[in-house]
């Protein structure tokens, strides 16, 4: 998931990759760097999303050199959309593009399966996301600061990981702002706990 705040974005993901019932990687890093201040959150087929992310990172790096300035988050999002839409029949990829640029500050763009592009202040994706739509609708308020965004992201991811069999492991968080990228990991036993019933 990804959340905008005034001055940047907070992104987060679980760390489980499964092949059927087997957890192939329990410490996956689903927050992938596309450029210095642009990251993407990958969901769906790991192979598809890794391939697309590499291609977009290349395209964006080239574009940035041509422009001689840091690329826009919207550009990165459009590059993802172009690939995801053109090859929509072959791909299973749900991607959140989030980052900071000088023109519009923190932005989150959602490129779900099918290849649509939409900017949203908050976006969740992946199999566990269905379980936290209600929680996010109830708890997100516009105008939260970075720490509040981190907390709500960690809480939402914990809730989803508790309910979704395909999500689990650790929570990886990152915040992207003008100052740069700050990454955090919250281990299983440090996750927020909710009343068990």
């Amino acid at each position: 998931m990804a959340v905008e705040y005034d001055g940047g974005v907070v992104i987060g993901a679980d760390s489980r990759t499964t092949t059927g019932a087997y957890i192939a990687n329990r410490v996956t890093d689903k927050l992938t760097r596309i450029h210095d201040k642009i990251y993407c959150c990958r969901s769906g087929s790991a192979a598809d999303t890794q391939a697309i992310a590499e291609i977009v990172a290349y395209q964006l790096g080239f574009h940035s050199i041509e422009l001689d300035e840091p690329p826009l988050v919207e550009t990165a999002a459009n590059l993802f959309r172009a690939s995801c839409y053109r090859y929509r029949e072959e791909l299973t990829a749900g991607i959140l593009v989030a980052g900071w640029d000088k023109r519009k500050g923190g932005q989150v763009y959602s490129v779900p399966i099918g290849g649509m592009l939409v900017r949203q202040p908050v976006s969740v994706g992946g199999s566990g996301s269905t379980y936290i739509y209600g929680f996010m609708d109830a708890n997100y308020k516009p105008g939260m600061n970075k720490e509040q965004c981190m907390e709500i992201t960690a809480a939402a991811l914990s809730l989803a990981m508790e309910r979704d069999g395909s999500s689990g492991g650790v929570v990886r968080l990152a915040s992207i702002s003008e100052e740069g990228v700050e990454r955090r990991v919250i281990l299983g036993n440090q996750l927020p706990k909710f009343s068990t019933h």
Partner: protein, 217 residues
């Protein structure tokens, strides 16, 4: 979107509904939305009440085909009232839940429905039972079912606390139903809530425009 809707959003057995039941200090709240849909495109009724009374202080909700729901609750009501006459006392909530479980288990090949029984009895006070698909019966403090329920698992896990007051629990249930109706096509209309305590039964209907609104509405 057709070919790609094979992810977890398509829940094979749940149909257009959100139902919920929760125990609070002294009673239970049981609630549902009011939409009946055909093929998730046509809303055949905007105001159906899915909370069905099977005895004075025992209610049940069914997430599934309405035809199944009506047939099964009719059978359950009969069994329960007969049982109650034999025992010469009001039936226990567990008895109602068992009746539904037996019906569900015996017909598990044909039925695709989730049942929820909630009520109050003198021996164990307020209780909520869930009969899951295939006939498993479990006692829980709070439970949700139906297609809209997937969107509120996180909210329920975060927000439900045991031993809430009646007002807190009603607000919790209304919020949960509103959130689910906001995200699920197949749930909507008004929120029907029933509060069962030792003293009796209270129906609360929250029309669509009085439902809580959240930040993006």
């Amino acid at each position: 979107m057709e070919k790609h809707c094979t992810d977890s959003r398509v829940k094979g057995v749940s149909t257009g509904t959100t139902i919920l039941a929760a125990v609070f200090d002294g009673g239970v709240v049981i609630g549902s939305d009011s939409r009946a849909s055909v093929g998730e495109e046509y809303v055949s009724s905007k105001t159906i009440n899915k909370v069905i009374q099977v005895h004075d202080r025992i209610f049940c909700c069914i997430a599934g085909s309405l035809a199944d729901a009506q047939a099964i609750t009719k059978a359950a009501k009969f069994h329960l009232s007969f049982h109650s006459v034999q025992m010469e006392s009001p039936p226990r909530v567990m008895a109602a839940a068992s009746v539904l479980r037996d019906l569900c288990y015996k017909n598990r090949e044909e039925l695709q429905a989730g049942f929820m029984t909630a009520g109050w009895d003198k021996k164990n006070g307020p209780q909520v039972y869930v009969v899951a698909l295939g006939g498993m019966l479990i006692n829980q403090l709070v439970t949700i079912a139906g297609s809209g329920s997937t969107y509120i698992y996180g909210y329920i896990d975060a927000k439900y606390k045991p031993n809430m007051t009646k007002e807190e629990c009603l607000q919790f249930a209304t919020n949960a139903l509103a959130l689910a109706m906001g995200r699920d096509n197949a749930s909507g209309g008004v929120a029907h809530l029933v509060v069962v305590t030792e003293k009796g039964v209270e129906h609360v209907v929250v029309p669509g425009d009085k439902l809580p609104k959240f930040h993006d509405e």
